[in-house]
Amino acid sequence: MSQTKLEFLPSGQTHRGLLNWVIGIMVFLTGMSIVAGIQLGLMAEDWRLSAADSLTVQIIHPKPDQRDQQTKAALAVLNSTPGVASARAMNDGDMSALLAPWIGDTGLIEHLPVPQLVEVKLMPGAAIDLQALEALIVDSAPNAAIDTHEQWLDDLLALAQAAQLIALSVVVMMVVATIATIVFTARSSLLAQQEIVAVVHMLGATDNTIAGAFQQRFWGVGLRGGLIGLGLVALVIGGVYFFSLNVQSAYLPQVTFHATTVIILALLPLVTGFITMLTARRTVKRVLAEMV
């Protein structure tokens, strides 16, 4: 014997189609903010990890022979320091490639007084006293200076964190706006179906039964809105990814998407459906509680 399904709300309410799109747009903006926040976090972590195991020694001297001599002395100190995995003086080709985004590939570098850079890789987890190392290097190469990348990395990480906070704020605002929209729509829907609700209430329907009918409707609306939003996010991300494949630039980071981003995006329609359903249920029950 099967229990009957209670359906008393009329099908086909015109505003629901519009609500699908309103929620879809909100989910799209939320999804884009989530992607931005997660990707920024991942990029910041990559920068931090790559900078943690490396440092640069600069030898700044106008005379090339003095510069070469000090470079050799600095390399000798570095190669004898425990914890240094490798130390390599960058050649003209490396320097040209490094400066090409700013001055182009014009051979101009040969006429510029650029410092000699020594790229130093540290062993993972090596505990090196950088002040003592700098003092040792400066003893044999007076125009040398160590750059641990800390200054620009800290600025970059602070910027990434600020951007993440903004993305998080956008997500919170979007969730609040979505809930407010659903509360408003659920109330309007209840008002539009006032006579039907009054009749089933009078026939002995419980608040849970009535709220259940509305929550079922709104679950569908939330799910559809979530899928629309996810589709728009996929379109934009696909477009950005396709565009990034065709652009080679030192300024643009390589676009890759972490599994976390993909999983969170995939869950968005379900989460939206749940939020929509629970908000509608709560709203309807609060309105019903005002009835005798």
Partner: protein, 228 residues
């Protein structure tokens, strides 16, 4: 079955529409609720079917105090009270079958039970051929019978009817009254609100007569005052 003790009722901050209403209706009794338009008949029915709270006084339905009853108690009580409205209050987007089936479905009956009982009842009220029709395609009398079928499908212990013969022709009105008498004979407590003196004269039932929000009981033998 239905007991009111000095019940008063007002809407919002307005004047009382019902004042000092006291009566006690026995189980299986049949009463007319009479009075002019605006005398408070519909308000009194609303109090009985628990869609309004009294401003003062005590209401007992089936020996249970209703003033401070929980929402669950009120829901359970509503399922045992059938109501026939003057304007039917059928849901326009549902077929006759679905409208009549609503109380059973709300109660959680099985589909088999719903089909069997609704068909049986629709045949009894002469609507078997209109089972799948929408209310908009039914005549006034057919709507009223569908409304009555919905009110009695749960075999209520109390049946309230608000001007049930107001929108139907005299032949149909007579048939409806016979239907109510039959329901009363099987034990349903009936309260029928009407301003039609024809029925009051024809059927020997006591009256709860309302005048300007106050009530007096008129025994079955006595005629109600002429309605202007």
């Amino acid at each position: 079955m239905i007991r009111f003790d000095k019940v008063g009722m007002r809407y919002g901050q307005g004047d009382e529409v019902l004042s000092d209403i006291s009566f006690d209706l026995a189980p299986g009794s049949f009463h007319f609720l009479t009075g002019n338009s605006g005398a408070g008949k519909s308000s009194l029915l609303r109090l009985i079917y628990l869609s309004q709270q009294p401003s003062r006084g005590l209401i007992h339905i089936m020996d249970e105090p209703m003033n401070a009853a929980s929402r669950d108690t009120r829901v359970q009580m509503r399922r045992r009270i059938g109501v026939v409205f003057q304007n039917y209050r059928l849901l326009d987007h549902l077929t006759t079958f679905e409208n009549v089936a609503l109380p059973l479905r709300i109660k959680g009956a099985t589909e088999e039970q719903v089909k069997r009982e609704v068909r049986e009842l629709l045949e009894w009220v002469g609507l078997a051929n209109h089972m799948h029709s929408l209310p908009s395609t039914l005549s006034g009398g057919q709507k009223q019978r569908a409304s009555i079928a919905r009110a009695v499908i749960n075999t209520p212990r109390i049946l309230l009817a608000d001007e049930p013969t107001g929108n139907v022709d005299s032949e149909m009105a007579e048939r409806l009254m016979q239907l109510f008498m039959e329901l009363n004979r099987i034990g349903t407590t009936m309260v029928i609100a009407t301003h039609d003196p024809r029925w009051v004269g024809q059927y020997p039932a006591p009256q709860l007569h309302l005048e300007a929000g106050r009530m007096r009981m008129i025994p079955a033998a006595e005629k109600a005052p002429a309605i202007p």
